[in-house]
């Protein structure tokens, strides 16, 4: 099953189980179905439970909150995470703290989905991640599935949670296929070791797990085994799983899908440095976007984004290895699959 289908299935199962769940947002029920991720919902559950809206992201976020404190379980969808910037007031000043301000009198069960854009020259306004920014606000949970099983299971956990949960979905992940067992439950707030290895730990966020798997495949051919921890949740953050890994490997690369400066990679690195003080063989390295807005042209875009190659080169440097010859390797395969216009 693809990641997009897993998202749709996760929502569908919760909608079947609980009539108070509904899905809404701009263009949610149109024929494109948010890149397919809301497929079949309007047919199965009707237009009162899956509907499109005017362009008013700020109000929609407040509307989700109002519905949530009235006992419903809204799922609000944004086709680009960048549009969340219009909703920060409701998220930061209301959703994240209304329960606290009321002394625990209200409950805020809602889900906000947002897609991280990449592909076809999305440029500066359609490519942000922002997960770290939201992780910063007490009262929010923030998850980033990178595999179909997690897309399905974390979606279900998010809808069932009695608190606000944000889910960030990288656009390229939508075409990733994998086995989805409908019975598998995944708790929010837990990392997952998606590859075992003794040489070096990669803490991967979202799409960077795919890049890390590719890097691991390349390095494994010369006997260097990366361990990959899919962070999956940045709030709450599962420090323990990561620490256990780094305590064994003594090396860590944090591969975030965001700008490095003042981003979530610093939080991860700080915690590792703190807990593994004296046990690290090399300082924790961080990978992320270059510190510029995202350019439009492919040439510069490829320099802007971190990739498997960066992971490989960084690992080699940390481990004191010579540079692997990458001449025959196929990288960026998803980008090649991706075609315009959007």
């Amino acid at each position: 099953m693809t990641f997009r289908d897993a998202l749709a299935l996760g929502m569908a199962r919760e909608m079947e189980a609980d009539p108070s769940v509904f899905v809404f947002g701009l263009d949610v029920p149109d024929h494109k179905r948010i890149f397919g991720s809301t497929r079949d919902l309007v047919e199965k559950f009707g237009p009162s439970r899956c509907f499109g809206t005017p362009l008013c992201e700020d109000a929609l976020t407040g509307i989700a909150l109002g519905a949530a404190i009235s006992g419903l379980r809204p799922v609000l969808v944004h086709i680009r995470a960048d549009f969340l910037l219009l909703t920060m007031n409701q998220i930061g000043n209301m959703i994240s703290c209304l329960r606290y301000m009321s002394g625990g009198k209200v409950k805020v069960p809602l889900v906000i989905r947002a897609i991280i854009g990449r592909g076809w020259g999305q440029s500066a306004q359609h490519s942000k991640s922002l997960h770290g920014m939201f992780a910063h606000f007490p009262g929010l949970k923030v998850a980033l599935p990178s595999r179909p099983q997690d897309a399905y299971s974390l979606m279900r956990a998010a809808v069932r949670d009695d608190n606000p949960v944000m889910i960030f979905e990288h656009r390229w992940l939508y075409d990733v296929s994998g086995v989805v067992d409908e019975k598998v439950k995944v708790e929010l707030g837990k990392a997952s070791v998606i590859r075992k290895g003794a040489a070096l730990t990669v803490a991967g966020v979202s799409w960077m797990n795919v890049e890390a798997m590719k890097a691991a495949e390349v390095l494994a051919r010369r006997g260097v085994e990366l361990e990959i921890v899919d962070v999956r949740s940045v709030a709450p953050f599962d420090e323990e799983t990561l620490i256990r890994s780094v305590e064994r490997t003594g090396h860590c690369i944090v591969a975030d899908y965001d700008w490095v400066h003042a981003g979530f990679s610093g939080e991860i690195a700080t915690r590792i440095n703190y807990r593994c003080f004296g046990k690290l063989k090399k300082p924790v390295e961080r990978l992320g976007f270059r510190h510029t807005p995202c350019p439009s042209t492919r040439t510069l875009e490829n320099l802007f984004y971190p990739s498997a190659i960066d992971i490989i080169r960084t690992a080699e440097k940390m481990l004191g290895l010579s540079e692997t010859d990458l001449a025959g390797e196929e990288f960026f395969s998803y980008e090649k699959n991706f075609k315009g216009p959007f």
Partner: protein
């Protein structure tokens, strides 16, 4: 007003709010109420009148200037004063302060110190009512300044589009802190500004409780007949400074009212006049006043003596 009885019930609500806020004015200089207070003196008739006309299970949303709304819906002077004093027994366990008084069990779903933020939340509650096929009503109170925020228009558009059962109640004191409406409005008038939207628009003098009741009833009738939201524009005079217990006419941004003007904009004085014409005597009113004054006094004393939250309370109520 239909009856003397009804009028007296309303009078009690009006007066409870007034006396509670006068008590705050008295106590505030001690610096023990460590919360900003946005007093509603002059505007009490609006929440009292609107809430009076909506059915039992209605849901309400307000602002930081929420004291009357809270007291009208709950009557709970104990929780009110305890919250102002930041006590564990306060309405928000000391986490809310004056600006976030809420009582979901009495229909007061949310209040907020960021202007206009509860407007879309109220629309969400109205949508939830529709979703569940319930016939709950929703009313959201906001100041005239809130209409300048984009989210007001987004919310109005959404509610009108979906014909939700919601009353938008604009409490228009012509001021946003110290800024006059003339320095803030690019539209001809508040009712005209929303005139192009598919909602019922009504205006009136919000200092007169009977007008508020009349206009709200008219809105309800019209909403029942032609199911669209209603926009209620009610004017009033803010007697005190924007935040805090004092008058601030000396600051010079607006003239002090004459005694006659005061009387003409004081909802309690005006309503007492109406009560007289309903044959309520001064002694009868005084009896109510002294009964409520005792309640307010007792609650404020209790609050002062009540314990603060304990350290572990800091960490609770973040998540459900």
């Amino acid at each position: 007003m239909n009856s003397r009885d009804e009028a007296l019930r309303l009078y009690r609500k009006l007066l409870l709010a007034r006396l509670s806020e006068e008590k705050i004015r008295e106590l505030y200089p001690s610096n023990e109420i460590k919360s900003p207070v946005h007093l509603g003196i002059g505007g009490e008739a609006i929440p009292v009148g609107v809430c009076h006309c909506l059915p039992e299970n209605s849901k309400y949303f307000g602002t930081y200037r929420n004291h009357t709304l809270y007291l009208t819906l709950t009557g709970d002077t104990d929780g009110f004063f305890a919250e102002l004093y930041g006590r564990a027994s306060g309405a928000g366990g000391g986490k809310a302060g004056s600006m976030h008084l809420m009582a979901p069990d009495r229909g007061l779903m949310a209040t907020s110190a960021v202007v206009a933020t509860t407007i879309p939340v109220a629309v969400g509650a109205a949508m939830a009512a529709r979703y569940r096929g319930s016939d709950d009503w929703v009313a959201v109170f906001f100041g005239d300044g809130a209409m300048e925020e984009g989210v007001f228009w987004e919310s109005l558009n959404f509610a009108c589009l979906h014909k939700l059962r919601i009353l938008f109640v604009c409490e228009d004191n012509g001021l946003a802190i110290h800024s006059h409406d003339t320095t803030r409005r690019g539209f001809r008038s508040i009712p005209e500004s929303v005139g192009g939207f598919r909602c019922h628009v009504l205006s009136g003098d919000g200092s007169r409780l009977s007008t508020v009741v009349e206009k709200t009833r008219e809105a309800v009738t019209r909403m029942k007949k032609d199911s669209q939201p209603a926009f209620l524009h009610l004017t009033y005079f803010r007697f005190l400074e924007h935040v805090g217990p004092k008058e601030d006419f000396a600051a010079g941004y607006r003239p002090a009212p004459t005694e006659a003007e005061r009387g003409g904009r004081d909802p309690v004085a005006i309503f007492e006049g109406e009560l007289k014409s309903l044959k309520c005597s001064r002694p009868e009113m005084d009896a109510i006043r002294s009964e409520l004054a005792k309640q307010v006094d007792a609650s404020s004393r209790k609050a002062q003596a009540a314990p603060s939250p304990s350290p572990p309370d800091l960490l609770t109520d973040v998540f459900s």
